[in-house]
């Protein structure tokens, strides 16, 4: 009898501890979160599979002659240098995150703007990502680069390495950048450095 009572108490205690763990330990968050590596413009961010460097940031109303979505709209263009460090890598996820944590997908408008990058091991790859954005997206914007493409529930890069690069746009600079009207001609994506690219 005493043994049965002890066993029942043990089972109840185990269930209670289990409940405490599931209620108070953020197991879901831990299981879902990517491994974020923060960086800034001009600084290499070393991921498990590639090095990501943002080499330039531009704001323009026109890329390769194509206007932004709305009259007076702007593109935020992010130039990158990417190197696969261990094996060939396909990086499908390049998106912008603004200061309010809103997401923006890169646009293909502008013939050389790309949305992903196929990297050969050890070969430098140059690619520009163009984001058709409203003004409020500029201040505090960051480029997120990862292997999985962006989805509505961000499941494609769970538990993966992810570069989160601050593009260095302060709130005070947003107005000046937005007022700029110089067109940007994006260079062809690939192993040829932008300075040497024919187009």
């Amino acid at each position: 009898m005493r043994r049965s009572i002890a066993l029942a108490a043990f089972v109840l205690a185990a269930m209670g501890i289990g409940r405490l763990i599931t209620d108070h330990v953020p197991t879901g968050d831990v299981a879902d979160k990517p491994f974020t590596h923060a960086g800034v413009v001009g600084e290499k961010v070393a991921l498990d599979y590639a090095d990501v460097t943002v080499t330039g940031v531009h704001v323009t109303p026109t890329i390769m002659g194509n206007p932004a979505s709305a009259a007076g709209g702007r593109f935020l263009v992010v130039d990158t240098e990417l190197v696969a460090t261990r094996e060939p890598v396909f990086m499908a996820g390049f998106f912008l995150v603004d200061a309010s944590d809103h997401r923006w997908i890169s646009s293909t408008r502008g013939s050389e703007c790309v949305t992903n990058a196929k990297l050969s091991t050890g070969v430098r790859h140059y690619a520009s990502f163009c984001f058709d954005v409203p003004k409020r997206a500029l201040s505090g914007a960051r480029l997120v680069a990862t292997r999985g493409m962006w989805t509505s529930h961000e499941s494609e890069f769970r538990r993966d390495d992810l570069a989160d690069v601050d593009l260095g746009i302060a709130a005070a600079e947003a107005d000046t950048l937005w007022a700029g009207t110089d067109p940007v001609n994006v260079k062809e994506s690939g192993p040829v450095p932008p300075a040497e690219a024919r187009r």
């Binding site: 194509n66 979505s69 709305a70 709209g73 309010s100 923006w104 646009s107 954005v133 962006w150």
Partner: protein, 206 residues
């Protein structure tokens, strides 16, 4: 006969006494129930008819899931090069519209394209619908929030549209926060129900 009348008066009397003994709230409830029952032959108990689809009209904003859509016109063309190049016997019907993604995240264009349909032309849709940015004919597969795009929703039809009007319909698209069956939370899901419908004159261009 006299016995029956006496018995009837007895039953009525007992019923009257029973009703008199009830509290006022029960009397009111009983009265309402009796009135409803009496109105049954005239449709008092019939189900309330569901409201019809919301009208779509030129320049009027309607919601298709997260998208605010304003249809400006519907146009038929032999082609829409360089975006759409159909066979000579086919035609392209374009819904010329302005689209704004409300909300705070990008969405797939299919949430819009798969939920807008055209009827009334007596032709088959052999390709599409596809979505193009009007300014530069770029195909739109994703749309960012907060921007208004002028877009062409294109349908390649098997032949010329029969008639001078096009009915544009959109499905009900609802936000689903959680789905334990597909583990696909926070998604827009189309329902088998027409939410908006409107008829537009077909503009023909050669």
């Amino acid at each position: 006969m006299g016995e029956n009348a006496t018995a009837g008066r007895g039953v009525l009397g007992r019923a009257r006494g029973f009703v008199k003994g009830r509290p006022a709230s029960q009397k009111v409830g009983g009265g309402v129930a009796a009135a409803l029952l009496a109105s049954a032959p005239f449709g008092g108990l019939a189900a309330v008819p569901e409201p019809g689809p919301e009208p779509i009209a030129k320049g009027k904003a309607v919601m298709v899931g997260p998208y605010e859509v304003v249809v400006d016109q519907v146009v038929e063309l032999p082609d829409l090069k360089p975006a759409v190049s159909p066979e000579p016997s086919e035609r392209v019907v374009v819904v010329d519209m302005k689209v704004t993604l409300t909300g705070d995240r990008p969405e797939y264009a299919v949430t819009l394209t798969k939920n807008v349909s055209l009827t009334g032309g007596g032709v088959e849709v052999v390709d599409g619908p596809d979505l193009y940015f009007v300014e530069d004919a770029t195909r739109m597969s994703n749309i960012n929030p907060g921007l208004t795009y002028r877009l062409a929703l294109t349908y390649t039809t098997s032949g010329p549209w029969q008639g001078d009007s096009v009915t544009v319909s959109s499905n009900l698209v609802e936000f689903r926060e959680e789905d334990k069956q597909t583990l696909d939370p926070d998604a827009w899901v189309a329902r088998d129900k027409i939410q908006s419908r409107g008829t537009f004159p077909l503009v023909r261009r050669s």
